[in-house]
Assembly symmetry: C2
Homo-oligomer: 416 residues x 2
């Protein structure tokens, strides 16, 4: 147990950055605001978090977050800091890791900015948690997509369709050649579209199509709910011939997700809705690079990363950093790779730049309007996405490739 | 199912606030970025979220959060907005409520600020979830504190003491007259202080003290962990004669917490560490008024609210608003009151103002240095806190009361 847990932070403080970092380390281990009798040198040597690295970045004029203390006339500085903790403080427990690296520190009075950038975990975590059971290879096997991205879409309207209407839409999509379909995160088991009815209606379509064509489309059924509901729903999907379940991470939470991953015999499509609250301010909360490690280790097979030129606020470099993180091994013995899921405003336009920046097509590429809005219909929409990826991976210019593929040409015209 | 779920938000946008609010409502229900074929008028009438109220507050010069879209020259406005959803979209499911009221909206490109301020739930939620099993009345009964606050403290150093050392400190505290003790959130089941050992050693002290004096001190054992661990640890605490368990909400997550509350036969002390990431920016994330409702309904008996003049960044009015929220009934048939837990830098100084502003002593008042740092020792520290609260509740001036109570006089001198 000589190993240590490491975490990197971006901090902003009007105090000496090293002294402020020492406060963080103290608060998150054996220290407190005032020195207490039991805090002996021996105890600190055994249990204290340490400031392992500190790099001052720059001075800023105004505090990023309100409420921090600021000594009269003190300048405000930003810094990168790395803290580490003895593994023996908590053991290799993912839920308890949260309180240690991301607990009561975001509110510390010394900081007008505090964001968790990355974490590195001792091997004991890899031994305790299985990571994704399916990941990239398992998803390719189940979808039959051996190279290039898995082309996916989301049921829209998000809510409002009943089970039969959902299945009708699924019929259109599977006949159009889709590889992957997911429920919207707003659709789980509402009385207007009960989970059991949806699984029954949708799997009838998918199974019939698989029997006819040999292609089993992967449908991620959103089973988000209480523990017994998730167990029951997982079993129903598996028994119905389904090949994927979906859970909203911020709804379910870490402990239940770990439990779900342990019982699951299907890939878990992990939805990050609510993520914006944890990440949108650049000086607060979590970077996705840190956050996705927790969920991958817990067992997330697919992780959402947004998409280039998306309709949200996230810049492209952040999207690519997130996707690259999902495809970067966590441990030598246990890479724990999750398949990144690109979505939001995606069409045939973005694949070349996505592939150029990421250098990989081990991903799910989900489009809504980019498929259903194609002027020649969804089959042409799906074909255009595949051809755009084909061009990207083969290093062929999009317009050059479009000259030989009318569906791509029509897509470039419609979405350009 | 004609009932609706309501949520209030603070928004900041460079678009027409009503149009921006309509985007939120659409994104979080049956709409999407582009109109899709299935989005019929009938479907919208059945499933759409609606903008029920909009109040423009003011114009601001600069966006609160980066990344939002801003039409050339557009002014940025803040507004309060209330959205509502048909209960039939999701049913009375707390996990699925999260994606609906706090899902993919914090990142919407229309907003340079978006914060969830409050939620109001239909009666069906009160019928499905039990709320706190013990709350104020149950905690008073178990601690034997029939009026005034339950005086508490936290084991410090937070980590580093082994089970025997923890029990020694507990012995000092119970002999000093404490009502309530909690583990630090950093201490759960690390190899340096295993949960089972700690329960054994601590409960031996607490049970012996109870046999001798008739007073059973409540100890909140931090059982945060995986689902089976939490079940086992709960059973161990109950079988050992313990009267409280503690869980870190942001570590455990909502689904596992609901499950824990269903099986628990003990009050659950709910720790909010990590909360700062969700709340510290005033234009992002959650207000505690909204957040605590979710956890109370799920079964949190004690909810942390920080304290007046705390060592964190939270202003006093926010602390009082949080505590008042915990003591405000959620439903007529099911008030779901949680006992607010005051802590962080608390001493004999703050009770009068706390009582004046809150108007209640139905709370746990936890101090660390405010007890252990008392010049005459912990018994005097605890007595001083009780006398300060006595003065506050009786409307007696602190210094007047201190003239008759040396422990209070010494505390005012030491902490003033």
């Amino acid at each position: 147990m000589g190993e240590r847990i490491e975490a990197d932070y971006l901090i902003e403080t009007a105090f000496d950055p090293r002294a402020a970092a020492e406060v963080m380390a103290g608060e998150q281990s054996s220290g407190t605001f005032v020195k207490v009798p039991g805090e002996t040198a021996e105890l600190k040597a055994r249990s204290a978090a340490t400031v392992d690295k500190l790099t001052v970045l720059k001075t800023v004029g105004e505090p990023g977050l309100p409420g921090a203390r600021r000594p009269d006339g003190a300048q405000i500085q930003r810094a990168h800091v790395t803290l580490s903790w003895p593994l023996a403080n908590l053991g290799p427990s993912l839920p308890n890791l949260m309180a240690t690296v991301a607990g009561n520190l975001f509110e510390l009075g010394q900081f007008s900015g505090l964001r968790l950038l990355d974490i590195r975990l001792p091997q004991a975590f890899a031994e305790r948690y299985a990571g994704p059971q399916f990941g990239v290879a398992g998803t390719r096997e189940l979808t039959g997509v051996s190279e290039g991205p898995v082309i996916g879409t989301i049921i829209k309207p998000s809510v409002g369709l009943d089970a039969g209407q959902t299945a009708e839409l699924v019929k259109t999509l599977v006949e159009a050649g889709i590889d992957f379909i997911k429920d919207d995160e707003l659709q789980a088991d509402g009385p207007a579209c009960p989970f059991e009815d949806r699984v029954g209606a949708v799997m009838a379509v998918i199974n019939a199509h698989a029997e006819k064509t040999g292609k089993k489309v992967m449908y991620a059924f959103n089973l988000t709910g209480e523990m017994d509901e998730m167990r029951r729903r997982h079993d129903l999907v598996r028994e119905s011939g389904g090949t994927c379940i979906m859970a909203s991470l911020n709804s379910v939470g870490l402990t239940a997700f770990i439990e779900l991953a342990r019982i699951s015999e299907l890939p878990i499509h992990a939805h990050r809705n609510g993520w914006g609250a944890l990440s949108r301010h650049p000086l607060l909360g979590w970077s996705y690079v840190a956050w996705q490690k927790v969920w991958r280790l817990a067992g997330a097979d697919h992780m959402h990363v947004n998409g280039l030129d998306n309709k949200f606020c996230e810049p492209n470099e952040s999207v690519i950093a997130s996707a690259r993180a999902c495809l970067t091994p966590m441990f030598e013995s246990a890479p724990c790779l999750s398949m990144p899921v690109f979505s939001s405003g995606q069409s045939a336009l973005q694949p070349p730049e996505t592939f150029r920046q990421l250098g990989s097509a081990d991903l799910i590429y989900a489009a809504g309007g980019g498929i259903m809005g194609h002027p020649d219909g969804p089959a042409a929409g799906i074909e255009a996405l595949r051809e755009s990826w084909h061009a990207a991976m083969a290093g062929i210019g999009l317009s050059e490739h479009a000259a030989r593929h009318p569906s791509l040409a029509a897509a470039l015209k419609a979405y350009g």
